[in-house]
Symmetry: C4
Subunit: 443 residues, 4 copies
Amino acid sequence: FAMEGLDDKLILNVGGMRHETYISTVRAFPGTRLYKLTEPPPPGSPAAQGPPVREFFFDRNPELFSYVLGYYRTRQLHCPNDVCRDVLEEELAYWGLAEAPLAPCCWLKLSGRETRTQDFLSWEACENAHLDERLLLNPMEGQGLRNAWKPWLWVLLDQPQSSLGAKCLSLISTLFAVCALVIFFQETEVQLDYFSANFTPMGHGAGVGGNQQQQQQQQNNGLVYRRAPHLLYLELLCALWFGTELFARAISCPDKVRFLCSPLNLADIFCLFPVLVELVVGDKAERQPRLSLTLGAIRSLYVLKLVRLLGFLEKSLALRVLVHTLHSSWKEVCAFLLIWVAEILFFGSLFLYGELLGISTPGQSELHFGDIFTCLWWTVITLTTVGYGDIYPLSAMGQLTAAVTATVGMCTGVLLVPVLLVRFQRYYAVALARQKLRPSGIL
Amino acid sequence: FAMEGLDDKLILNVGGMRHETYISTVRAFPGTRLYKLTEPPPPGSPAAQGPPVREFFFDRNPELFSYVLGYYRTRQLHCPNDVCRDVLEEELAYWGLAEAPLAPCCWLKLSGRETRTQDFLSWEACENAHLDERLLLNPMEGQGLRNAWKPWLWVLLDQPQSSLGAKCLSLISTLFAVCALVIFFQETEVQLDYFSANFTPMGHGAGVGGNQQQQQQQQNNGLVYRRAPHLLYLELLCALWFGTELFARAISCPDKVRFLCSPLNLADIFCLFPVLVELVVGDKAERQPRLSLTLGAIRSLYVLKLVRLLGFLEKSLALRVLVHTLHSSWKEVCAFLLIWVAEILFFGSLFLYGELLGISTPGQSELHFGDIFTCLWWTVITLTTVGYGDIYPLSAMGQLTAAVTATVGMCTGVLLVPVLLVRFQRYYAVALARQKLRPSGIL
Amino acid sequence: FAMEGLDDKLILNVGGMRHETYISTVRAFPGTRLYKLTEPPPPGSPAAQGPPVREFFFDRNPELFSYVLGYYRTRQLHCPNDVCRDVLEEELAYWGLAEAPLAPCCWLKLSGRETRTQDFLSWEACENAHLDERLLLNPMEGQGLRNAWKPWLWVLLDQPQSSLGAKCLSLISTLFAVCALVIFFQETEVQLDYFSANFTPMGHGAGVGGNQQQQQQQQNNGLVYRRAPHLLYLELLCALWFGTELFARAISCPDKVRFLCSPLNLADIFCLFPVLVELVVGDKAERQPRLSLTLGAIRSLYVLKLVRLLGFLEKSLALRVLVHTLHSSWKEVCAFLLIWVAEILFFGSLFLYGELLGISTPGQSELHFGDIFTCLWWTVITLTTVGYGDIYPLSAMGQLTAAVTATVGMCTGVLLVPVLLVRFQRYYAVALARQKLRPSGIL
Amino acid sequence: FAMEGLDDKLILNVGGMRHETYISTVRAFPGTRLYKLTEPPPPGSPAAQGPPVREFFFDRNPELFSYVLGYYRTRQLHCPNDVCRDVLEEELAYWGLAEAPLAPCCWLKLSGRETRTQDFLSWEACENAHLDERLLLNPMEGQGLRNAWKPWLWVLLDQPQSSLGAKCLSLISTLFAVCALVIFFQETEVQLDYFSANFTPMGHGAGVGGNQQQQQQQQNNGLVYRRAPHLLYLELLCALWFGTELFARAISCPDKVRFLCSPLNLADIFCLFPVLVELVVGDKAERQPRLSLTLGAIRSLYVLKLVRLLGFLEKSLALRVLVHTLHSSWKEVCAFLLIWVAEILFFGSLFLYGELLGISTPGQSELHFGDIFTCLWWTVITLTTVGYGDIYPLSAMGQLTAAVTATVGMCTGVLLVPVLLVRFQRYYAVALARQKLRPSGIL
């Protein structure tokens, strides 16, 4: 009953695969399940009577046990490529090796799968938000007529691809949007004419020609400026349609908060105001060019209605993944914006002092800018490599600053690529998997 | 013959590999093939007579059975990295586990291969369209002389790499194209001279100098403007060659519809017109400068003939994959175009109102634009970061709008990269595989 | 006792898995451990007495032995995908095959893991530098009150995310930075006014108007130019705060050398000077516009304080990896800078001579540049595709040079992408692994 | 001796692993090695006497045999992830399945490795060209003193990193290059002064001032224009050094052809000429400004000597891989250049006719260009998004053309990224593997 010879073999039948090893190998890590097999049984127990047991059966995964046994043999714990972390941890816990350190070369094997699962859940959550809305459509779960029309209306308005009716409705909306845009463009013509008739003379002509005549003409023009009434009524018609659609979408929307947070919906709400304000203010609006211009600026939100046309391409996975990527990397986007602003401020100040220092040497004399904000404007235009040429450095020091600014601007754009790309690749792989496997019921 | 003890071992010999497990493990999922093994045989059957069977043989894949058994042991279904979906599903169906849910960490294993197979078939279809044409070449399958010359002619004209004759023909075509281009460039000179002689005076001189003399000179010039006849005849010669070649390609083409839909072929057809029209209209063309200019604009399609030179590089896999990527991601390209147009319209309107609001404060006075289309033009030039500088914002609000526009434009280009890249990588891997394996007959 | 027949089978029980092979197979590589098994035992030994042994047991990895045996069978040494290099080398050494050449198709299997491990250690070292500082926080290891406050202070100042106090402190610092920036912007206005009052007249008016009056006015202005004292004192207050903060950070910093080498800290030190110099120099500064301008240029370092705001986003892994990527690829960055400078010099010279050669033909006459440095400036602006338009080629040869320059510039930016991306992907994978696995204690 | 029952089991002991299957399974593919096992032995043979054999031993790879047997069971041939193509084909051939079609899902497994091996050999060849030169250094293989100095000299001159002497020599060369550049820049000043003194008056002043005085002044200047002799002699000194170095490199170079084809060496040869020509021509050069300008243009090759500084960074793997990528994708680079040229020609012509058509409507009148080459120049500047603003469209049609041109230009740059990136990634992985494994002798 003494300790058996360490050179004796031990047969470990794990799930039918017979692993053989020396007892001495197994005694490498005291306290583990395998070590306990080699301990002599307590004297009083029945097992202590017979010859020492040499073969043990475990109903466990035989492949992973190879790695466990490898740990006893080489004191390095590796793992196969295709192992899942849960499985590995459960096996290690069973064999009493939960604390065993994984070899560095195998760390990435676990984390890759880990990350992918996490990405999957993130994408799943994003997609399910849409899915839930679709499930609302199911008439089977509606508790009555009162609730049945809501999802029906929502799907009709929100998913142009879902039915023929939805397609027609979406087409009509698009036509109204195009119509509103055309009206809007017509209006800019009127406003530009009004502006060039009234304001330009005031600036130029004031000093030259007679001021009185001018002023009277201006007031005449001011009275003349009036939107053609038919345009106003046409726009009112468009606004009525947009308002009705928005109202229908708002009451049928399953999640009001998310509805209000969507920038497209906010734009829809805001672009109803101009017509209403103009109707209320009436003729007075024409006398207040600033109000009229502000209303015009808000009208440019009509353009965003065209973005709804993307709904026709809804199934484009790559675009949805791109949006999700931008959403989920808001930290990086914020950081890039912060760096962008810091670059603008820094190079703008440098440019200002570079030019001042360079030009204060007599010879050249006229600066292209009069305050630091013009310098900042120059910096943006240089960093983005637009380079209008309205402002450019005149002195050698300013040119040096500008050269560095342009080079930095070129590189900033390039640095964005890897950050976006790596995330996009991960989410895209996961989104593709979901698209393939969902219909076949594997998931 | 009662139910045997649940702790008893069961030996499952699957394809020669002996898996051992407890009967209790196998009884985890009732109704499956393994569960049925543990049910007592019906009393009357011969199997009910002898001792209960403990070892079963199945002529199935032994490796995958490890994962099946793992499902019974841990209630999580995993799969190996290198499994093919068909194989996995067939095995699961055999063991009665077709409904079993795959663990999340293994979803991507299946989808990756799935996607790759689909990409492969997409690329295969794209390449086979070409291949079919090549197969037509085989004289063995021609049913007679009448059909034999068609594929021969097609290959001769369409694949410059295929034979020495095809190379020569392609070279001659290229020479003719270069010749047509040179003629076309010569012609622009004549038209520019004519234009600056006739139109610039009309604009400037009309108000200043005497009108009569001018008008007479113009008519004289109008009569003088005449393409040198030898250029016209030379171009006619080129057009004859191009027409003959196009006709030969059209009648020998195995797929007329695809032939007509190819933009290069359409360009070939269109660029035959200018010479013909000029021949028909004769001297009258010179009196109608607009017609003459339109014909010139169509002539610029001659340049596309140079693109056929790419045929000499036909084997460049990367380019063919790039074209296929663009083709197959038409949805994303459309979406980007739509976003592009929306950006132009939106920032154009914002810029217009930003400038108007900023400048209406007296001080500065002259706008750089007179209508909204000039604003849209400015937006394109800013979004693409070209920035000519013919139009630039003068007020602080306009500069702010322009800064945002330029930043958005810089980022829009960057966002295109990941979408294209991910698809390109997939198709390229697949195209490379096809190129390697096709000749060695593995596929 | 003679040599047994070469066709006899040999049973190699490796870790429980029985491999069988012919003796002739094993005799392929003399001198290896397996070969020695087949050698007849020395006559005198006890083993030489009995029948020749046919079965041997080895307590080694059974999976890798398959590949070892495959080497004997096919004379090609392959390895599995998921093997770690250490393990493979140890096994090969045990079997006496340390010199065996790996088949080419398996080279990448080893190097991939190798590289990843190396990346991991590089990233680990980079992160541990931060980690060590955090560990200093542990009060358990502090040997007394004297040392305990240092890490506490350091973490308070350096890691805005660590506690509420740190957040407040960071917020106050940011407010002071914004304040300093506002003062700095105010000052630029004063300096621009002074400059346009004094220098522009000197340049233009000198030749035209009376010089004496001018000069006197200038001196008057010179005396008038004075920073509003309250701005100076406000800035002094900011500088005091910055100085205190910098001092506290300096004495509590665990690694003074690294502290001094950080560009942000150097900027912090430098931007303390302007106020001090102005206080010391006093009224004299206003009489020395160059000194005043230089001080202003140094003040633009205040902007860098805003970059500390990134500390609020500290957990963004992608950004830290991006910085590490740029750090560790300094060689590539240097090389690109060198190539950039060479491009500027080369195309600048070409442009100069292109223009000179092209313009020396009579007709056009005024060059846009007067020395080669203006050409170099033009080259930078063209390579970065900024294109202000202050200088552009006038002759055909200059335009050709410019076209090549612009195309090269566009491609240089594109070439940067793959170099950065490949490194970023590697480090990001590794950083992600570390982030996932560190908390769960696997590493 | 009759055919045994098809339901009987067959035991296939492949390399020690016992696979069991039914005889009926194995009879799926007649003519293969396994099928033959089930054929009854010829009556006369000794094997026909005893009971039919049920167990066979094969000394082959047991893992791959699983897939072979899987083919018999499911009629689909799959393969493991980590198999090498050679190994798979050898096994299939042994089992008589050389023609068996691989399942589509496994095609990419083979091709990936295939491609990587090919990339490896391509990179190996590229690197060995360098390696061979280095091996020449080995004194052991030198057959005598006569041959020993050549490689020593080559390494000394070509690899700045190899020894201290090489570093010094490279430093001296760099200093000489900088010196030559400074001289070159000095000279451009002289030439610019000469040009503005002589040619600008000729253009402008000719019509205004007296011509005689001008001409005399010009001749005086012509005589005055003279490079400062000390600059000429200094440059001669530099040229002597460069010539000596080039000569030494040329005679010690192990591969003369490759030496002559390297663009850097060609540049070295060409930039020796200017000084020599000037010495020969002597004073006459000053009277021929075109010759002098051409010599100056050639002198700009001095800049390329700075690129040799990259030698100090020689170990940067990423750069060498980048160069190799560009080399090996010359087809794609050519294609992109061709597309680039076609785009320039096409959009240039469109722009010309767009402007002509748009402007021929009276109102605006002055074109920005006078011939088609100016249009092509505009197209390059727009496609690269440089946009100087010297030429821009004035009519709506021209603006439309320009907008399309700018958008196409922006996308062309983006399309380059994936093509380059995919190749770069492949070569980089392979180069990294080589760098890691070469020193440890695994390769």
